[in-house]
Symmetry: none
Subunit: 229 residues, 4 copies
DNA sequence: GATGAATGAGATTTCATTCAT
DNA sequence: AATGAATGAAATCTCATTCAT
């Protein structure tokens, strides 16, 4: 997945699709079991939520026994944190794969991310369910997502700053604020797609988000006031 | 808008703060108890999340007995749906109170909403925790939020359409898409404020959101290409 | 109901059918409410059993409030004992109404009782549900039914003894044993009718019970060995 | 029959009495725990009734933890159905072990069954308490007992029919009706023994039941009109 | 490495009862 | 007389975790 990030941002969101062939060594078996458990947990979290998913169910869903989660991860919290981190991979991959024109990169990011949600609703829902579970004050997942959000914003911030340095992005915007707004727009729009899949016109929402970013950041041309779109 | 607390929209964000005096009639007692339970549930959901909040805790937090929630609401789900609906009131109130210039109204909406979150983090966190809990596929809260999100988007959509009819908002934007993008931006930015309160510069994020909307929707002036901001 | 016992044993099992006209005096209102509660309890016990019937449900089913049962009866146990006693009335009435030839009376009793069950399955089921609840060692209803069963058996025993004195019933049967066997046969056959209504041929079962009693008790004729039936 | 404990029918009424030694394999542990739980449930149901027996009590009574019933049976209903089925074994065993003269077999059945009740009042009371709990319309146990009663009646019916074919039982009786009457007599008489143990003369009741069956079914002899008894 | 038997804390819910209205 | 708000005990069931196999 992350080995071909150049071809297209969207390709980073393609399903992994590894075949489940019986591995040889103990370490491979161990890794395979853990991976199966993480994926099973992701499916169940997407379906029922964090607290309605039991470790026994995860073991069974993965095709193993009720006790395997604790055997491998020690506790439910550890499993969830692992699942949360894995569920962030898609966004990290796409953000880190952005190249070229900083402004265009941000526009591509928006479409890539929303397209990933649209095409991988199960994985996306798992991510959002975990993120939603991180919102209460005492959530054990809060730190995981606080760190992660921070990294994403920092990346976007750097793109904005680079664009400003290259004269591609207006200098009268605050990079940190823009990063927060873009990240928020992606999350909030994605969440709406998942809460009511049929009610939102994906293309219209995606286009609007792109317009927001492009028009807000494009340097106003002195002669041609028409913003390209 | 947040500087003029007299308007009804802003007042909707003020804490309720009614004193708990022993009421006379049965109906008053009933109403008071239910209100106390809803507020207690809101506090606990903000703190611990939906599933880590027990109905017994809610009763105790409200100053009553463990069994009162079921006496009044019949089930935990019914209570949560009630809390979810009440937690939406603030946003509904502010959206419905918007008047005057459609574009300015939308900009005001953004600042009002984010300011409300910044100033009422407990209530806001309750709302977001419930919203997060609505994301899994089988969540009993999904329908409540699907309906609610839809209403909010419809309101915003109407503002956009009105602005287009009055020549204040560009006609090359899709009202439904813009509504989804704005709603998403508010939700996602608000959520980030709650996940990592210290890491986000509220003013910068708020300003960026305002810029996104104003620049994306403002009709490009023929003589003065500089978009005001 | 008990005012016309002579016409036919079966008539004693007819439904009471009193109209529920608003009564005048307080005492009448009180009696009417209690009667309504007892009947409601009977219906609910027949439907759901003793422990699955709550006093609140009884009040509601009777068309009153949740609290009326405790207001009138003080406790659930007191209500149940009252319902149990009322549910025994039908059998008591029919047993006490028997007249004429003792052997024929017993045969009539059998058909009357089983017919009552067949025609009043709701009331009958209430009686049997209460009787079933009396079987555990520590049941609060045990004494009520022990007394009642004893009275029924004593009545039957007297019929048998009277028949023996008149030379109509064989003297080589033990009246007490016969009374227990007849009572048991009625109860056990009735219970089967209620457990699996469709599976039992009422007429065949009833006839068999009659044959059992008639043939077991009839004095063997010296010249005509054929037992009449 | 009860004087010859070697026959399999009677042995079915003997207490199980296996010692509780710690088993080796998981399967043995599982079976042992389940058996202990079923027996504990039987004891408690006999003592307090179905609804007054909690699954936690069953676990404790069996010498295990509160949660084991749900671990093994999943629900209280499943446990009760299992207990009901096990409690029927004694009667099934004795009915299926009957051999030889059909009429005498039925007479033996009566004494065997009532004797079992008299000697094993705890197990018998459990069976009857469950049977009593099956009488309400919506009881989850109804089907279990409907099936069971049907099987018993069918067995008895076949005996009657066989007796008629061999000329041992009168042909002017309906086998199905007789089966219902005999089953009912056993149940109802047994129940009375349990409701008021001291008030019933076991021997007299048992003898009366035997007389009922023998005299009702015996083919009237042409030369010797005296029915033997 | 993997299983699953067993535990016991804790969740939701039901409900008999008390008592103020 | 009647209502129903409120309580708190107790029920069933879920489940993370421990541990023997």
């Amino acid at each position: 997945m992350s080995s071909t990030p150049r071809t297209s941002a969207t390709s980073a969101f393609e399903p992994a699709g590894q075949a489940k062939t019986p591995p040889r060594t103990k370490q491979e078996r161990r890794d395979q079991a853990e991976q199966s458990l993480v994926e099973a947990a992701s499916r169940l979290v997407a379906r029922r939520g964090v607290d309605q998913t039991s470790v026994a169910d995860v073991g069974t869903e993965a095709g193993y026994s009720r006790g395997l989660v604790n055997h491998h991860f020690g506790s439910k919290v550890a499993l969830l944190q692992r699942v949360a981190r894995e569920s962030q991979r898609s966004l990290v991959d796409v953000v880190e794969a952005l190249t070229g024109d900083p402004l265009e990169s941000l526009v591509v990011l928006i479409r890539s991310y929303l397209t990933w949600i649209d095409r991988n609703p199960a994985e996306a829902r798992a991510f959002f369910a975990l993120w939603g579970a991180a919102l209460p004050e005492e959530s054990v997942l809060r730190e995981v997502f606080a760190e992660f959000d921070s990294r994403i914003r920092t990346q976007i911030e750097e793109y904005v700053r680079a664009g400003q340095e290259h004269g591609i992005i207006r200098i009268d915007v605050e990079p940190a604020g823009v990063a927060a707004a873009i990240t928020g727009m992606l999350r909030g729009t994605g969440a709406q797609l998942l809460v009511a899949p049929g009610q939102i016109d994906f293309e219209a929402a995606c286009t609007a988000c792109e317009q927001f970013v492009r028009r807000a950041l494009t340097v106003p041309g002195p002669s041609s006031p028409r913003v390209r779109d």
